[in-house]
Symmetry: C2
Subunit: 340 residues, 2 copies
Amino acid sequence: MDATLSSGVVRAGRQAREQFHDARGYGDPDGEGVRFAPVEAAHLLYRDDLGAVDDMGFRAFLASSTCPDLHFLVYKDLRDRGFYLSPTGVDWVGDHGTADLVVYPRGKGPWDDEVAYRVRVVSERATVSAADLGDVVLAVVDEESEITYLETDRPDATGSTAHDAPAAVPGSLLDDRVLVWDPPADLYERGFYGQPLDRDGETVETLQLSLVEAAYLVRHGTLTLGTDGDDGQAVLERGRTVEGDRFDRRLRVYTVLREAGVVPKTGYKFGADFRTYADVESVSELSHSELLVRVVPAGHTFAPRDLALDVRLAGGVRKRMVFALVGENIEWLSAERLTP
Amino acid sequence: MDATLSSGVVRAGRQAREQFHDARGYGDPDGEGVRFAPVEAAHLLYRDDLGAVDDMGFRAFLASSTCPDLHFLVYKDLRDRGFYLSPTGVDWVGDHGTADLVVYPRGKGPWDDEVAYRVRVVSERATVSAADLGDVVLAVVDEESEITYLETDRPDATGSTAHDAPAAVPGSLLDDRVLVWDPPADLYERGFYGQPLDRDGETVETLQLSLVEAAYLVRHGTLTLGTDGDDGQAVLERGRTVEGDRFDRRLRVYTVLREAGVVPKTGYKFGADFRTYADVESVSELSHSELLVRVVPAGHTFAPRDLALDVRLAGGVRKRMVFALVGENIEWLSAERLTP
């Protein structure tokens, strides 16, 4: 059975419509016949269901500029997994934002009104803007044509940690941290601020605060540093010396999380800015931290390679990878591995 | 027992020499007495072994500018682990390159002639130049004062893979890969070039080569692409379109590894450029890949946060993390987690 190509659309007759559209969800009815997107036609050629499109067999058709090879690979993979799906970018498929492929639930097809996944196809070496993510599945094709699916979402970050911090606790500002001598016990044990200098002692004699924690606590009247000028300004300047603008972004995310009842602690060991605890009652009964948070500017573009690395690492330690996009507001973007 | 501070050196008398130097490896003999680096004096103050240095107790001494707080934290941690060690940067300790602390083997001290580790202390937010790594242990202090030790080395990358590739196999250059139709069986099975389009088939009908593999094979006369001009140039241009200068760097590393008998395959899933197999006899009897390789320019500076992420991920999949530093030559730098 053969077909013709015109203006980027492949057309075939009634028999093709019955066999490929009606029975297996390819293409769209076109009068008595059927029309296919190039990727669908390539798949039918690959399967030997179609013999030729304008005299081109599968090899010639795929090597022509009509059919993007990355899209073909993902289309084929999802068909192999038992899905019916439609490429976007043709008249008969509605608007699905930045998605390249619309995947229907197993057992459903283009004639139903349900969508399982909206899939955007990217090379591992492309870059993807944060603004384009959140309601799409990324299908990342690596240079050996392996495909990784990453589901993106726009979650909320909220918790139930409540702690009334004391007022005016004195501390000393060092190069890269603040030390609090003989701190009120609750500051660490209930508020989960800082890290004891000596982990073996029964009482915390010296508490080390990170600069982000110190900046937050100074702003809330909990901490005083006895600097010559404004304590808050002194910590901010120290933080900016150490990590520039990034310190301000991290402090904003730290503040928003604390105000939502979530405790952020450093995520360094996981390559992230923070790991978070949603429901801290006391440090001695701490549960597993739930999120890894990476702080990025709102206009950030992701390299799929780095995104995959973050998601893999978070999965390995049973946490969810979340990006804090810091612009006028803070928006949350999560990414996790998906097996369709 | 008290001590005095002068020009960055802390001095104490004969009793201090006997108790702290002779018995426990702090400082250096100084006439009948002893002299300490500030970090050593801080540790003695912290332990209440010394009462004061120029009227300063531990808190005042640590908060003064005499003693770097990161160095103190790492010094304390290594002492807690049972090591004797000396800070560099004082007259009586020799030259140890970029190291901040010289750690002696357990049971040995500054009076012996053996070194267990040369340790460089860095904040997680500092940057570290690749040129400074390779014979030093990085002690990375995170903002909550947890310490991660990363051992760096300059390994070789060699293997025993031998495969005589056939000549002039035809292929088609697509957007981001090369397809070889009905390839010679050995190209994949023995040479481990490419990835079959269909993984289920008994014979490989279509082999997908990455652009790096294709560029290498064109240069070695194995592959022809039937382009209008120079095949090699055509692949190079395609590669540079996709990833700029980085393509050239990756091709150089790919070539050096292949010539050393090592097979590089994509390391995308691990966030790396390549994973490598040192001894491939046939793909159907493939062993575990040994290295993860990340390709960087020779002048690269590492963020300890990213370095820790790479090392952690490599450890999680039982591979060794290696950086290929690409300049005039290619140098190898490895990093792995160390528990002193």
